[in-house]
Subunit: 215 residues, 4 copies
């Protein structure tokens, strides 16, 4: 068969060989054991695809620590068992029911392109996202309930409020999954929500009353 | 409003403060500029949620370099503009049409739980994954065409062949997206497919003839 | 000379730098003084090597507070002044006669692999631990007198009873050390025994009648 | 039966209740899972009982990460399968053969009372440690080969050189254990040696040539 695939760019090949000769070699024993015995991550992280957000770095995580799903705007859609393909729900199901992670952390961030697009779309400034054919627009529909809660704030506060809503809405949607709710209620799983400010490096987390404060 | 959210575990709080006092502080200027000017990643990576796979580490990537989507088994579903929520397609659309990444890399890996589950399901050994309500099962349906190509191999070669199929099927599906095909044909985007062996750290990549060889 | 030593894994290097830039820096004065004036811990803790037991965490201990010896199953062997190497006895001697700690706390825990191994060995189910060459088996011999006291209990109560015996036997053995007995009798040292339930976080302590109750 | 045990001091009871209401509660899910599934630490740490040394803090370790043995001066005695009780050898055997840790880290420190005592004893200034009945003296005999390598250095450099020897001698002794040597040679285990300066918080590690440099 033929494929469209091209060789990896040279600078990436070079870095990979460097990684293998250093980091991999130094941790060969641990990587080998992780491969043989299987992963056993303590937490699932749901964060954005954005190239400026790296939860492994922020939390000094070693290989094997976090099961990480990354999508646009770190969103969790509601439970929808319709037999269709739901990548986020599949990742959730695997993490909670098979891996039995103890923590599930929604990691939002400032300056999120997805959230900004959602705001523009909901405010009527981005009709192209409203098209049925816009995958980004349809994905960001998940955050519409959040827009309704921020649209009466002063204009210049709405987008950052919506970034927090991306976390709050996802936390709400998480609890619509029966296996998440059951694990939370039995004490086997705890949920956490936070927003990372990519400009100044700070982290705020949400408490039980829906308020955010610095970690 | 109330939320189900709990405070972040203390060891993560401690590590975050450590990160902020060192890595963040040392790179403050770059992070600040990335935040102000927006991201401009050179590549999109599609890799698995598995806690043992970290493309940033393997490729020594700095903040801002890779736009990373992670889902179960690093799969890309076919183009399906049905107005439903497609997280992977949304990430693709954003990376290719808005960020205009130059490379799109599908990063598979060995010992993939999702691929093993798909194999069991297709071989008839995991009826629970065949249920309409199994999110993992429905997600792994994307890989069924790959199973059909490996099912006549010797039993003990099928799963690792299917791990490679997860990359090949995704490369094929990528080309069903008009915006991907257009960017590839105009030379603005190149596609790459590889499988990372998490036991011995090696990397193989697929060439235009569909064959895999060591990088 | 050559050594077999390898560089520290990178994620630990990163975390160490984070610790030094935060916790260490914030407590620099206290650490400096502790280093210059010497330690003066108020208690010695004897606990298990098990990665799930951390007395510093449970008791909110600051640097300098506890002198901590950790071995398999938190055992104290009997006084045996035979000129051989006794790591636990050396730690005891240093804590009681040089540091003059005021409290000596034996901290047992549930789900102890060492205790389970001892039970299997004494019950005849782990002949490999009975070999002269098994370091774990010989070490767990210290707990044999405890096994004799639990072996007539119902089968399913024996292991957890033996976890408590690991504390009781150690308390008994402590009193065979002349310097411990002297310090206890003069009122300069008090002994304490407890078992930490690592599942539910509770702590039980033994009283003068040998009964355990919640702290 | 009667015991000599006394109730836990009130301030410790109070802190324990605080820990249980906060840290434990917030991590209930993870602690519960660790208890049910068993520990799977990635590294064994051998460090000193000294109250000023806490590897969990320095390395931001979570519960379940490190299997920790602590004895006077972080020493490993040579392999001695004589059927006697060897607490350190038992901990080693359990970590390497049962838990199959990937890293084994000897963590020395400055201002070590045990090392200072060893120096005094070997230099003839502490005859009481030379007594057959001194547990500390007999334990520190393990470090005598190190003293022979530092005794011709200028007087004021000997003790700190001996602190590094405590790490080097232990690394050498580790390799006398057949199960350690086998795991190192098969690539399943890597050894690491370092000395923590408790005054200024720095860490030095030894390389393959026996030289120490800052981490």
């Amino acid at each position: 068969m033929t494929t469209i695939a091209r060789p990896l760019p040279k600078y990436l090949v070079q870095r990979y060989h460097g990684w293998r000769a250093t980091t991999f070699t130094e941790n060969r024993a641990w990587y080998h054991r992780l491969a043989e015995e299987g992963q056993r991550p303590r937490a699932m992280m749901i964060s954005c695809c954005d190239s400026r957000v790296h939860v492994s770095g922020i939390f000094g995580a070693d290989s094997g620590e976090f099961f990480i799903h990354r999508n646009i705007a770190n969103l969790v859609p509601p439970f929808q068992p319709d037999g269709q393909q739901h990548g986020t729900s599949a990742a959730l199901e695997f993490a909670v029911t098979s891996l039995k992670v103890a923590h599930l952390i929604i990691m939002g961030h400032t300056k999120c392109g997805g959230v900004a697009g959602c705001h523009a779309m909901c405010a009527g400034h981005a009709p192209e996202l409203d098209e049925k054919t816009s995958f980004v627009g349809r994905w960001m529909d998940i955050l519409r309930p959040g827009y309704d809660r921020v649209k009466d704030l002063p204009e210049d506060q709405q987008v950052s409020a919506l970034e927090r809503e991306a976390v709050l809405v996802s936390l709400e949607n998480l609890m619509t999954f029966p296996f998440v709710r059951a694990a939370v209620e039995s004490g086997e799983l705890s949920l956490h929500g936070m927003v990372h400010n990519i400009s100044d490096g700070t982290l705020v987390q949400v408490d039980g009353a829906g308020a955010f404060s610095e970690v």
